[in-house]
C-alpha cells in the first residue's frame, strides 16, 4: 500500500523542534512503559549509595556525609545517562542501522541530539528523584535548604552544561568502533572519583578539583551540597555564585562546540565511510 504524499513539509525551526520532539518521545513515553528499567535505574545507584553509606557509618563519619553520598549517588544517574545514552548513543545507532537513516533524512542531527537530551533529562530526573527520596528515607538524611531558587538555577544550568557536553562527545563516539564500549566504561569510576560523587571535591588536591571542573557535575554537585546541607558551605570547593557563572560558561562552550564538532565529524565520518560500518 502506498502512503499518501506529504503535502505539508516542516522546515526551519519547525522541523528542528518536530525532530527534537520525535527523538525525545521514546525516552519520555516509551521508557516509562518499561517499568523494569525504572527498577534497574534506581536499583544500581541505590546499591552504591547503600555501600558507601555503610562505609561512612563504619568509620563513624558525621551524618551530613551520608547525605553527600545520597545526593552524589542520585547524580550518578545523570552521568550514566549522558555517558551511555548521549555520548555513545550515535555508536549504538550505527550498530543498529538507525544512524544512516538519520543522516539521509532532512532532520537536522543537532535536533536529534537535542531530543535525546531533553528526553533523557526528563526520564533521568524521575530516577534521580527516586534515589534521593528512597535514600533520604532509608538513611534518614536531613536537609537544610539555603536558597531554593539558587538550587534550581544551579541544577538547571548544570544539566544544560552536562547534556551539552554529552552532545559534544557524541560526535566523537561516531568515529569509534569496538573501543566505544570500553571508553564509556572507563569514564565511570575515574569520573566518580575526580568529580567527588561520594565526598566533597574540596578534599582532592586543588588542581585536580580545578581539572575535574570541566565536568559540569563536579561544580554542580558541589554547589548543590553547599545549598542543601548545614555543613555544606564549609566543605564547598568554590563560592556558589562563582560556580554558577562557571557552569554558565561551560554550557555555552559545550553547546557551541557540539554544533561545530558534530558538523565536522559528520563530514569526516561520511568521507571515511564510517557511518554504516559495523566492526565488532
Amino acid at each position: 500500500m502506498m502512503l499518501p504524499p506529504v503535502t505539508k513539509k516542516a522546515t526551519g525551526w519547525k522541523l528542528f523542534w518536530l525532530t527534537a520532539f520525535g527523538r525525545a518521545y521514546p525516552r519520555l513515553v516509551g521508557q516509562q512503559r518499561e517499568k523494569s528499567w525504572l527498577f534497574f535505574d534506581v536499583f544500581f545507584p541505590m546499591i552504591s549509595v547503600a555501600s558507601y553509606v555503610f562505609v561512612y557509618r563504619a568509620i563513624q563519619a558525621p551524618e551530613d556525609y551520608i547525605g553527600f553520598v545520597v545526593v552524589g549517588g542520585a547524580m550518578t544517574a545523570f552521568w550514566m545517562n549522558v555517558l551511555w545514552s548521549m555520548s555513545s548513543q550515535l555508536y549504538w545507532e550505527k550498530q543498529t542501522g538507525n544512524l544512516a537513516l538519520y543522516i539521509v533524512s532532512p532532520a537536522p542531527m543537532s535536533a536529534i541530539l537535542m531530543g535525546m537530551s531533553l528526553g533523557g533529562l526528563a526520564a533521568t530526573t524521575i530516577r534521580a528523584v527516586s534515589v534521593i527520596l528512597l535514600g533520604s528515607l532509608i538513611f534518614q538524611v536531613s536537609y537544610t535548604v539555603v536558597s531554593f531558587w539558587m538550587l534550581l538555577a544551579i541544577f538547571l544550568v548544570c544539566m544544560v552544561a552536562l547534556y551539552g557536553m554529552g552532545m559534544m562527545t557524541s560526535s566523537l563516539f561516531l568515529l569509534f568502533n569496538r573501543e566505544a564500549w570500553h571508553i564509556a566504561n572507563l569514564a565511570q569510576e575515574p569520573i566518580f572519583l575526580v568529580s567527588g560523587f561520594y565526598f566533597p571535591v574540596k578534599s582532592l588536591n586543588f588542581w585536580v578539583a580545578v581539572g575535574a571542573s570541566i565536568i559540569p557535575l563536579t561544580l554542580g554537585l558541589d554547589a548543590m551540597r553547599q545549598l542543601v546541607f548545614s555543613t555544606g558551605a564549609s566543605l564547598g570547593f568554590l563560592n556558589v555564585r562563582l560556580e554558577l557563572y562557571i557552569l554558565i560558561g561551560l554550557a555555552v562552550v559545550f553547546l557551541t562546540a557540539a554544533r561545530y564538532l558534530l558538523a565536522y565529524i559528520e563530514k569526516l565520518a561520511v568521507r571515511e565511510g564510517r557511518l554504516t560500518e559495523g566492526r565488532r
Binding site: 518499561e34 523494569s36 534497574f40 536499583f43 544500581f44 546499591i47 552504591s48 547503600a50 555501600s51 558507601y52 555503610f54 562505609v55 561512612y56 557509618r57 563504619a58 568509620i59 563513624q60 563519619a61 556525609y65 543498529t96 569496538r178 573501543e179 570500553h182 566504561n185 572507563l186 565511570q188 569510576e189 575515574p190 566518580f192 572519583l193 560523587f197 561520594y198 565526598f199 566533597p200 578534599s203 582532592l204 565488532r280
Partner: protein, 288 residues
C-alpha cells in the same frame, strides 16, 4: 576410552574459549592502552574509598578498618569479573557476535566453553588486583608483610573462590539465555547486591540486623574473610563478624557452600540450557 575423549573435548573447549575470550577482551586496542585501561578503573574505585576514609580518619591508614575495606574492595573485583563474565559471554556470543548457535552445533562442551570464556577476565582481574594491592602497600602503607602472609591459605581460598564464582556465573549464564530483557544487567545486579550484603567494604555488623543474615548465607562473605585473613590475619580477625570462627571453620563453610552452589548450578544450568534449546532461544537476537 570414552572418558578420556570426554576429558579431551572438555579441555579443548575450555582452552579454545579461554584464548578467544582473551582476544575479545584485549585486542580492541594496543597492549599499552589496554594495560592503562585495566589499571585505571580498579585504582579509581579504590581511590574513592581511600579519599572517603582519609577525610574522616585524617589519613590514618594504619587502622584495621582501612586494611579491611581496601583488601575487600581489591579482592571483590574477582566477583564482578568472573561471575558476570560468564553470563556476559552468552550475551556477547548470542546478541553481539551472533555466534552462539554455531558454538552449540560444534563438537564442544558448552559449560566448559563458558568457563573458558571466564578465564580472560580472571587474568585481567588478577593484574588489577595485584596493582591495587601493590598501590596500597607502597603508597598507603597497608600493613601487609609478604613474609608473614599465609600463602597456602591464600592460594587454596583463591582457587575455591574461583570455582564458587564460576558456579554462580553458570547459573546466571543459564538465566541470561532464557530472558529477553535485562540479560545484560543480571550479572551486574547480582554482583552489586553481593557487594552490599557480603560486607566487602565494611564489616557485616554495620548492616541492619534485618538484612544482615543475607551476608551469612552467601559464600562470598566467607571467601572475602579468608582472603583477608590469609593476607593480614590479625587485622581481619579484629572485627566481630567472623571472629568466633577459625580459618578451618571458614574454609569448611566455604567448601560446603561451594558444593551446594556447584550442584545447584549444574542442575539449574542443565535445565535452563534444555529450556533454551527447546524454545529456540539459542539464536535469539533481542536487540534489547
Amino acid at each position: 576410552m570414552e572418558n578420556i575423549n570426554s576429558i579431551r573435548k572438555n579441555y579443548r573447549s575450555f582452552s579454545t574459549a579461554a584464548w578467544l575470550g582473551w582476544k575479545i577482551e584485549s585486542n580492541w586496542t594496543d597492549p599499552f592502552l589496554f594495560a592503562i585501561y585495566s589499571i585505571v578503573k580498579p585504582l579509581s574505585s579504590a581511590g574513592i574509598l581511600v579519599i572517603m576514609y582519609s577525610i574522616i580518619a585524617q589519613s590514618d591508614f594504619t587502622s584495621p578498618i582501612f586494611a579491611y575495606l581496601y583488601l575487600g574492595n581489591a579482592f571483590y573485583q574477582y566477583v564482578g569479573a568472573v561471575m558476570s563474565g560468564l553470563a556476559w559471554a552468552i550475551i556477547d556470543d548470542r546478541e553481539h557476535y551472533r555466534t552462539l548457535k554455531y558454538i552449540y552445533v560444534s563438537p564442544i562442551s558448552v559449560p566448559y566453553y563458558l568457563l573458558g570464556r571466564g578465564v580472560a577476565r580472571f587474568i585481567t582481574t588478577t593484574f588489577a588486583v595485584v596493582v591495587t594491592i601493590a598501590f596500597g602497600v607502597i603508597f598507603l602503607k597497608i600493613p601487609l608483610d609478604f613474609g608473614e602472609a599465609n600463602w597456602g591459605l591464600f592460594i587454596l581460598t583463591l582457587l575455591i573462590g574461583i570455582v564458587m564464582l564460576a558456579t554462580l556465573g553458570m547459573m546466571l549464564a543459564g538465566i541470561a539465555m532464557n530472558i529477553a530483557r535485562h540479560s545484560d544487567m543480571i550479572g551486574d545486579a547480582v554482583a552489586g547486591a553481593l557487594f552490599l550484603f557480603s560486607g566487602a567494604i565494611f564489616p557485616l555488623s554495620i548492616l541492619p540486623a534485618s538484612i544482615r543474615w543475607l551476608g551469612y548465607v552467601v559464600p562470598v562473605s566467607y571467601w572475602l574473610e579468608l582472603m583477608r585473613r590469609s593476607m593480614i590475619g590479625s587485622v581481619a580477625e579484629a572485627f566481630p563478624t567472623f571472629s568466633s570462627l577459625t580459618n578451618t571453620h571458614l574454609l569448611l563453610i566455604l567448601v560446603g557452600l561451594t558444593l551446594v552452589f556447584g550442584i545447584a548450578s549444574a542442575v539449574i544450568f542443565g535445565k535452563l540450557d534444555h529450556r533454551a534449546r527447546e524454545r529456540g532461544l539459542i539464536d535469539q537476537a533481542t536487540n534489547y
